[in-house]
Symmetry: C3
Subunit: 467 residues, 3 copies
Amino acid sequence: MERPRHQGMAKNTYMRWRLPLVCLLWEVAMIVLFGVFVRFGPEADAHWEEEKREMNLTSDIENDFYFRYPSFQDVHVMIFVGFGFLMMFLKRYGFGAVGFNFLLAAFGIQWALLMQGWFHSFKSGKILIGVENLINADFCVGSVCIAFGAILGKTSPIQLLVMTLFQVTLFAVNEYILLNLLHVRDAGGSMTIHTFGAYFGLTVTRILYRPNLEQSKDKQGSVYHSDLFAMIGTLYLWMYWPSFNSAISEHGDAQHRAAINTYCSLAACVLTTMAFSSMLQKKGKLDMVHIQNATLAGGVAVGTSAEMMLTPYGSLIVGFICGIVSTVGYVYLTPFLESRLHIQDTCGIHNLHAMPGLIGGIVGAITAAAATEDIYGKEGFIKAFDFTGSYRMRTASVQGGFQAAGIVVSLLMAFAGGALVGAILKLPVWGDPAAENCFEDDIYWEVPEDEESDVYHMHNPNKPASP
Amino acid sequence: MERPRHQGMAKNTYMRWRLPLVCLLWEVAMIVLFGVFVRFGPEADAHWEEEKREMNLTSDIENDFYFRYPSFQDVHVMIFVGFGFLMMFLKRYGFGAVGFNFLLAAFGIQWALLMQGWFHSFKSGKILIGVENLINADFCVGSVCIAFGAILGKTSPIQLLVMTLFQVTLFAVNEYILLNLLHVRDAGGSMTIHTFGAYFGLTVTRILYRPNLEQSKDKQGSVYHSDLFAMIGTLYLWMYWPSFNSAISEHGDAQHRAAINTYCSLAACVLTTMAFSSMLQKKGKLDMVHIQNATLAGGVAVGTSAEMMLTPYGSLIVGFICGIVSTVGYVYLTPFLESRLHIQDTCGIHNLHAMPGLIGGIVGAITAAAATEDIYGKEGFIKAFDFTGSYRMRTASVQGGFQAAGIVVSLLMAFAGGALVGAILKLPVWGDPAAENCFEDDIYWEVPEDEESDVYHMHNPNKPASP
Amino acid sequence: MERPRHQGMAKNTYMRWRLPLVCLLWEVAMIVLFGVFVRFGPEADAHWEEEKREMNLTSDIENDFYFRYPSFQDVHVMIFVGFGFLMMFLKRYGFGAVGFNFLLAAFGIQWALLMQGWFHSFKSGKILIGVENLINADFCVGSVCIAFGAILGKTSPIQLLVMTLFQVTLFAVNEYILLNLLHVRDAGGSMTIHTFGAYFGLTVTRILYRPNLEQSKDKQGSVYHSDLFAMIGTLYLWMYWPSFNSAISEHGDAQHRAAINTYCSLAACVLTTMAFSSMLQKKGKLDMVHIQNATLAGGVAVGTSAEMMLTPYGSLIVGFICGIVSTVGYVYLTPFLESRLHIQDTCGIHNLHAMPGLIGGIVGAITAAAATEDIYGKEGFIKAFDFTGSYRMRTASVQGGFQAAGIVVSLLMAFAGGALVGAILKLPVWGDPAAENCFEDDIYWEVPEDEESDVYHMHNPNKPASP
């Protein structure tokens, strides 16, 4: 019952010693580094009662856990079910989509806790973690999941782990430059997560260009059921995106506002996606690829500005535009990128994350530059952009300029980092599949015999299975 | 590989210009109306620091966001995944079920924010929104999703958008009459959402009666996998229903109580559904249609009374009864409605929403009429029914009477509104499918080639695909 | 189109009167018992305003609802979607997996509210319930879902209800001994839920040993789609496990800490599971069975210690070990248990719950014994282990000893209880399937005709369906 395969050109995809070695060694390294560096932050430590007295808090409900834990869980679902299932649209790559996403994210969150911890939560030799660190680690891994979308089906699990190691590192550096050095606002990560993650992934897939990929073309499409599974991913990303964009905003109005703006942007995005999906197809039928992806562009594109006074109608406008841009991208740009620029982008992350991410950065810069004390209130203005300490004198328009600089830095980091990592992944030691074996679970997974053939036998008991 | 179809009677279902036009124009209208009317409420506005001082709040945790956001997200999942996947049971209408539900809900929540805003959150010329408005918009759209269940598979996406536009409008009017004029309690919407939504949808499908629907009878059933997808919808509705019924109740005990009552009612409902599903079938086997739907009737039926002192055993009794009523409805009433009254109710919303919604309204009226200061406490009694201001002197039994009046008003609005909208949808301009093309994704969606045929080829490489 | 079946040996699996009778009678009993005993606790009762004054609470946000409701909903999803879908991996038992899990859990939570209520929330003749009771009822049912995993596919729904009745009862007794008599800590239930539930289930399946089970061997595997459905269950269990282990911990730091520890343990567990899944297979391919199950062992194994100062690196170590133990168990132990000890463990709960549960109990005992006032702070130490009242003088090492005793008690209760219940279930009156009909939905469910055959007909219209 084995399927025929072109064994002549097959690469060595034997994972038995390489994958376990990488997993075990790296996990041991995590344990050692966590042992040396990671401790509970004051709100998760058993000394909390003393902390509470010191900070003059009267109730346990003031623990940051209760402000952020529900959002954390929503973000967690987006990373593991959202991305994992969204990438399940390929007909024979469901195990790889959800399983490899699981693997890289589980490793990535540990490494991100360390990398982001060193930059942001390092106090007297220890990284002190709490629920906000968990969210940030998930965010960081989100950018890896995005990049994974570009190379989906064409890489080995070891390559994915290597990419995760490097990308998380570079993410943390880029994030540090943006948030700490440029003092940029980016709560939902239009720049740090989407722009960086997407252009990083696109650069990697460009360098890993496979000229003979059409050999596995028959497996690059979806089937009816795989499209339905992918819709689970789409919907969880869409529904929980308000939590994503508000998860690490300031307590109170900022979280509240970020959720509302994202809700509005996403709603508008669905309508323009449907409109253009039908309009750009001769028969006027809707295309599941667009519905699965472009409907999410509105969430990406308010990632920077959602916590600002973008206003509900401003959010609708952003969502309106991004649904169009993203759908048009799927129809015209993805084929162009592949044929002309040799960028093979399996999931079309250029349309879902790269362009909307850039738009999100720009919208954020404009919204910041347009901020006034009138709109925000005197206190609200300072709080919204954290114009305290050495940033006391920064004006809205200067902030807008720094926001714009943040986009450029993210792009440069993505291109440089993607080129470096792409070159490393090109080394012939990682066990990637041959061109004709791409988009096929059989290479790295024990795949059960097909149900269809069973059923076929049941209904046609007199016929042999393989004549 | 195109499937043969009776082209002779085919209607014009070409969506290429009509659907984009409606989507884009309406979304532009939303942007304009939001621009004129919608602003952040005080708890989401950047002036929140000043607001906090004025209201004498000492902590950001007092922001309504932290009371309601987790419930909001649960409700959001119910609308998009719950309803979307529940309707996926048809063998070849999965894209339409989840995709059209996505489309109408995304439009509906925007229009609902406006309509409900004008009635309930209008202050000095602006609609001020916060998380409670988002929940209410989702609730309103829930009633459209219910009506969609009756006409599932028989309408074009444009018809669904037109219905959404009208139904949201009428919902808001009906809600205003009930909550503001009659001063009725209906936190979980037994009357406003379920009774109204279901009888509205049933009236619409009656008017759109298709005498030749048996032409697509082979597609009106489920297959093994589509039933499993539908169970995702069922379970998310079932699990999150306590959040639904408690989402907009008063802070504190009312939210807490509503969740407990709903939890109890739903648990009882599962057992009686299973009992009657087995009992009403000759072979004694369980029927997935009942499990997918009737198990939810308990949540519908405590929609009005969950926040009242219904008590856990009262909830069990309501759930007990509704599991039976709903299952019996599927077995005996649905076929009767179709053959005698020409009501073609694809999902059986009469059994899941209409009858349990009516029961819910009646249970609410009785529970209200039976309320005493002894049971609720002096303050609790006033708070539970908001007997303040001009309602200061209202007694429990009078409240019960008004609750009953609310049922009647909802029914009248549903019949009148459904008749009007049904008549509009009957116009031959909306691109609805011909009778033999109902319940078929192929009409409005790009459907990928079937996996089964691929696999068939793989396993039988020597055989031609279509002999 | 009926499938051929060996009717000769078929048992009487006719459920028409037996199942409805059990469901209805038991539900009536629940109503009566709830009517006599169950009332709202003070935080869900309409007298809450008075309560608030008495307890000197200034805000509704201090209601326990807001501390625990989001965690409750996550736990609820784990029980109904997590367990229900995880068990969907069998190719033809999806209805049974999710449907019977639904049935037994819906009954179990009601009975658990009563049983646990009598032991823990009984005041002046009434059981006073709130959100914490709902969580505990879900927890209790979790142990039944675990036991269900061992006998999956081999039992009738009545047997499952009977098992639920007894297991919930014994669970409550065991929990009372551990928490109240031994004063043991077990917030995430390594002992009370996992060790007890798994060894209970293994004992039951040992007693129900079926020598001819290989007759249904062809149905005991998975197919491609059923494995993807199962991954939904896996991921929801994995993602929400931090909520599970923190749901009933003390407010503040304990809940916060439990979530972080669980997050870390689960992340490490994924990497060692992947490593050993590949390493233990000749071709080095990953096995979905391991990914679906062993990745969760890390959550089980910190069930006792997650709320303690286990520290993030301690959690990583526990997860590291349990991923290995669990995967090795699937490869070597499960076949051994079946062939030598006649323990037929359908889902491999020995590897996912039994062994990791034991490890969890031991880790908890060690962590407790190693606790010092230095690590926890003076107040934190007392609060973490509730060393108040008559336990004022208990030391950490004595606590460690009692924790260890808790493991032994749970094991004894599981073996004794499992033997008793197994013997009851062996009675020939419950309608269990014959050996050749195991793992087959057709016995207890109306199963729709297969899609595959339909499609086959569509594409091959000239061929008869069953030659």
